[in-house]
Symmetry: D2
Subunit: 419 residues, 4 copies
């Protein structure tokens, strides 16, 4: 499972491992080292007697944000580190994996819990690896493909034609992790919430629908935007500026969209391609999602509404399409039920809910308590996982969180309305 991290990086050139084109993006090399650091710091150092650290300076270099461990190396400077090399980082991984073997025999209690946490942590970074690789390659004016063998499937033009809303009754429902499997501390405690009757779109907003918003001057109508979003999107440079692309004309829109003459394109992990109108729009900020919903006459769902609806759905989606690594048009609804499509494994769906602690929330003890809890301000909850989320990693109660202006994740839009 941990080897998936190396597998994801396999198509990269050595040069791709060290680049940080913007502060939010971490170099792939850093992801490989940091996830290893996690096992070394939280398992080997406290529990493996006689463990010899691979390099004592890595405690500082690959600490992401755990002040309880010590002052971390500055995030925005991760791209300034040509050393350790990729080979040295891979050796670091082997060193730690080997040392972990001995510990895995004792993997129960606190040790077992931390091993499981470390593996889920690794999965989160496996998604981030793909997300950051897309940024590294997609903002390069050469726009190289991540893999040449990724399919850009032909999408039938009416694949997403019908948008319907499923209705839900109001009342008290329980949300939060129900037990029976791993969850992060921020999914707890399970607790009742009071919902009003609502309706949820049965699929995601498509590129074609979002394009209609763009062409309706959506980016120039302040009445559609939250105030901070308006300010942010006024400052938002279009992709051509972001990628320092020499020719194309400036446009505003989702992160990887660009235009050549009258034709719209987007950069995918398989390289630039004409915009697939029936695929879900992705790489939009919360501000864009919110403005789109207002323009369309709807709103975004709350996280409780989303979880209420998703709890009835099977955790299945496009995860498996590893030869695509891009959100795809919705599959037809299953015959006997599950009328909501694209709930899991397509794009992370912005909710209207700020990321705050559940009532009675308790973070983990010690430095591990910094994993989730200290980020509970200024961010919004996203639900459902994306096409680059490792299969098996998400669930109905899973809470992802990002800042409202963030575009570089595989984020998308599901509409809702009151009944």
């Amino acid at each position: 499972m941990r080897s998936d991290s190396e597998r994801i990086c396999a198509p990269l050139a050595t040069e791709d491992y060290g680049i940080q084109p913007m502060p939010d993006v971490s170099p792939p090399k850093w992801h490989l080292a940091h996830t290893t650091w996690f096992f070394e710091t939280f398992l080997l150092k406290p529990f493996a007697s006689g463990y010899r650290p691979f390099d004592p300076r890595f405690e500082y270099l690959f600490n992401s944000y755990y002040n309880g461990i010590g002052r971390p190396y500055p995030r925005a400077r991760r791209g300034a580190l040509s050393r350790p090399t990729v080979a040295e980082v891979l050796e670091y991984r082997r060193h730690v994996d080997q040392a972990m073997q001995a510990l895995l025999g004792r993997a129960e209690g606190e040790i077992g819990a931390r091993v499981v946490l470390g593996l889920h942590h690794e999965q989160q970074h496996q998604e981030l690896l793909l997300t950051d690789i897309k940024h590294i390659l997609g903002t390069n004016p050469l726009m190289p493909a991540y893999r040449d063998d990724l399919a850009s499937p032909a999408i039938p033009a009416d694949a997403a034609a019908k948008l319907a809303f499923q209705h839900f009754e109001g009342g008290v429902v329980e949300i939060g992790a129900a037990g029976g499997g791993f969850c992060f501390d921020n999914e707890l405690p399970r607790h009742p919430v009071l919902l009003r009757p609502f309706a949820l779109a049965d699929r995601l907003v498509t590129n074609g629908e979002y394009l209609a918003f763009v062409e309706d001057q959506g980016y120039r109508r302040p009445e559609l935007w939250l105030s901070d979003g308006w300010t942010a999107q006024c400052a938002m440079a279009p992709l051509e500026a972001r990628t320092d692309h020499p020719r194309a004309e400036p446009v505003q829109g989702p992160l990887y969209w660009f235009r050549d003459g009258d034709t719209w394109y987007e950069y995918r992990l398989s390289g630039p391609a004409p915009l697939a109108l029936d695929a879900p729009v992705t790489h939009v900020s919360f501000y864009e999602a919110d403005a789109y919903a207002r323009w369309a006459g709807y709103r975004l769902p709350t996280e409780a509404e989303w979880e209420r609806a998703a709890a009835e759905q099977p955790v299945a989606g496009h995860f498996a399409d590893r030869d695509v690594l891009h959100p795809l048009p919705p599959r037809p609804p299953a015959a006997g039920g599950f009328p909501l499509r694209q709930i899991f494994g397509d794009v992370w769906e912005w909710t209207a809910s700020p990321y705050t602690p559940y009532p009675g929330y308790r973070p983990l003890a010690g430095a591990l308590g910094e994993y989730n809890g200290k980020f509970m301000s200024n961010q919004l909850v996203l639900r459902g996982g994306s096409c680059v989320t490792p299969p098996g990693h998400v669930r109905a109660s899973y809470r992802n969180f990002f800042y409202p202006g963030d575009q570089w994740q595989f984020t998308g839009i599901r509409l809702a309305h009151d009944l």
Copy 2:
């Protein structure tokens, strides 16, 4: 009532009217003009036939943030305007007030609603006038008093000695404006929420209690802080830097605190004074309030908890102490009930609740819809009003909102915990 605005400014020197020491602060002259612009723009221009604008360029100059009216003059440049002069702005006020006389005879329906809104708007700016005047004078190295006749009352040393918690049952309660009087659109619709049993402190956190947090190295312990708060407070310059005060040593703490040797002081509207240990701490950010609560072993209340508790309290407090203009120690609880003290009119109490729309929220139509709705991201709800809020302006359902790093409002802390 509108004349209160001029009365608040009466003690100022002409020079004080035009200063903008930081972008959040508006010059008093601007407040006087903008509140007038509100009546001119939303009442006289649409409803008073034949109305002659005082100066057509003011539509642009004194537009705060209503994109529906046109591009506003940049907020951070309000201090760059020496003209119009104070006298011209006062003349503008008279011009508009006079024109409003005719309209007031027809003050029913939409006109009446807008007049009422305009007066509540004016009250909000009356509070901001005092808040901004404090910043203008308090960050000047000369630290002049706003008024020489403001009492700095002797505070008995045990005035705030006893902190107790009042318990509340859980269950479904209604929050939001109940009708029967004016409210802003963001207080609606009234709706049920589900509460868990909780306890609320019967008074505010005092300066003395907050000082214990400072002296316990609260500002140097990252485990107490939200991540964004830690970053922000690391960047936060102490008062001496903020005021460019030449001598005093740097400290971190509430906005107007400073230290001379071993003695702590704070700047008040009556001038610098030794820190009143039993008065409520004020001018703290949400990050500071949250860190203090964590340090003390408690948490901040949600806005629903606060409103649940406040709904039983009379809207009375220290508003009346207009010869003080500073939060005062709690009065003893009333004999027959109302065990919560300092609920209204002392300091704005940070809640743990992000400022989001109530379910079913609808902003006003047209440009007036920008009044509240477009700010529903990145801010937190504050409740209860402060010692500089006009009496009669707040109520249990009133929702104020500021960014988590803001310190320049009269903000404070009330603790809560789960049961």
Copy 3:
């Protein structure tokens, strides 16, 4: 003479005294206080026994940049000081002037030298007062006039029609102050320099000529610009943005130019007016002056060339036109000689010479040594004085200096070429 400072401020509203629309501009109140501080600090405190400072805190508040006196109040924050008020500053001036009376009786030796320096210092600030007042009023969207009684004289359309070049032989010439009157330390020592034969334009570049450069796309042709100038002018916002003017279309050009439809205007101290094509262009940066010269096929003169030519000219010019306060078209050359026009008292002429010490330069002793010497990097020498320079203040050896991007001074262009 010192009373000229108050006289210059007389037309101002109290509100105009405290504004700092950009960091380079100082509020008029500050100029009035700082020039007074100069006498208090360098004369009264060291030499007037028993002198009681007006307010000891002013030593810090009105120190411009003399680190030898102590840490100065930050320059960019001068506009944040509503206190002391204008009246208090005027009282400060009277207090110091009165105390100076006693000292003036002993005005010889060091005291005498410092008094003379203080008066020349005051004259420099009298020019800055007018320069900064123009910025305060001219960047206000209302563009009020400084004085209503300032003439905007009718300018004959061919007033500046003839541009000729005067030739000068090469060889060794002496530059620097020759003795026989006051000079600043940076004009010394007088020393020989070696010149090549050169030609100097007999008048300044006009608005009309500069407009031809603008209309020839001069601001879009990088080959005309120094690299730093190209970068700076790309970042340079046009006046409409600078003044936050709501309507006019964006243009690039001299600081106070703007356009309404096809007509060009400029803001003058008498208010906005159609661009006077035959008046000298002013408020251009060194980068603009240099780019214009390159476009025109010429170059800027060195300071030695300028001084060589100016040494033969009488120190007379448009100084006297105090009812204009704006550069005027050239007067016809005098019958018997003085073929160079507009040398003194029209606009400060950018030279190609970086501001460096003359060989053997020695700054004054003590903190007064900070007056000129420490600025001898990154700036360029300007010569000749402007229409707002106090008459009698300039001379052929006078060296003014500003950064190459500065536009807010009354700066202009004289062309030169090699022979």
Copy 4:
């Protein structure tokens, strides 16, 4: 000769080729590509009929600053390009070198002149390669060595003990390139200058001497500094911050100095080493050089003084010490003359002369005219070459230029005084 570029990079890891730790530093891969671009752009495209560009997009990607060719890719984003890879860049070099073979047969006239220019250009980047590699490795907290086989020679403690001054008469001397070999356009025309009698130190300032300045609180005494230098050095972060080094205490000083307890170290291309007190100080800014000279009671020489003195010296120095790549203590003076030591090939010596055009200067025609001329503002001239300058690249008339705050070049200090 062009192959020296690859040879310099040979010790690097692939990861080192793409890093840009600060905007002034270019990734080694970029240097390899840009110098190739120079031949492709200025020779192959205009002169080699039928030449097929390696990748047409490189015209944009590897344009450094030639606006005449088109808008260049932003300098500060050079580190954001993981592609083309190192291997692809090396292939680009081979492609261009091969195409150049055909052209070299016709290398006369304009073609010949451009070939020579291209080779000198390549040499400049060979120096920059070593300079930037030092920054890439030296600001990494791991401080890896560039080469393990670089000697850190034992330096006798009195190697630099004697500092003497050589005297020069004043008078008219000629400076500028005298013909007889290649020179850049900025060394022309040769022209007479008038010098006063002066004295020049016979060797460079040493680390030990500079350390005395540091320990005499040189960085805390504003009277020693130019105003802009004081501001800049107040903002200058010490190496520990620059390198984000976790442990060492903050110090101010030359770029690569750091301190551990009482011992001073510096980072060299051979790795960290105790400070060699008798070696020349290097990696100081002009501001530091100027402040040191003032502290020591001297001044920096002008470029004319330097060239006057250097013209009598042989162009020989420590260039040859390619197993050191670090400035070394002075060699004893030659028996029969050449009393000035360390003139060539030790460190670039800051002069007091701003970089301005020589009288009559004419840049090359076309886009190649951007090579030198457009940088003639805000920079200062440095002379003499450094220990990383390719042998044969400098001469007495060579004018290098950098901004006064730049530290990352191999810059040093030679003292001068008037006679």
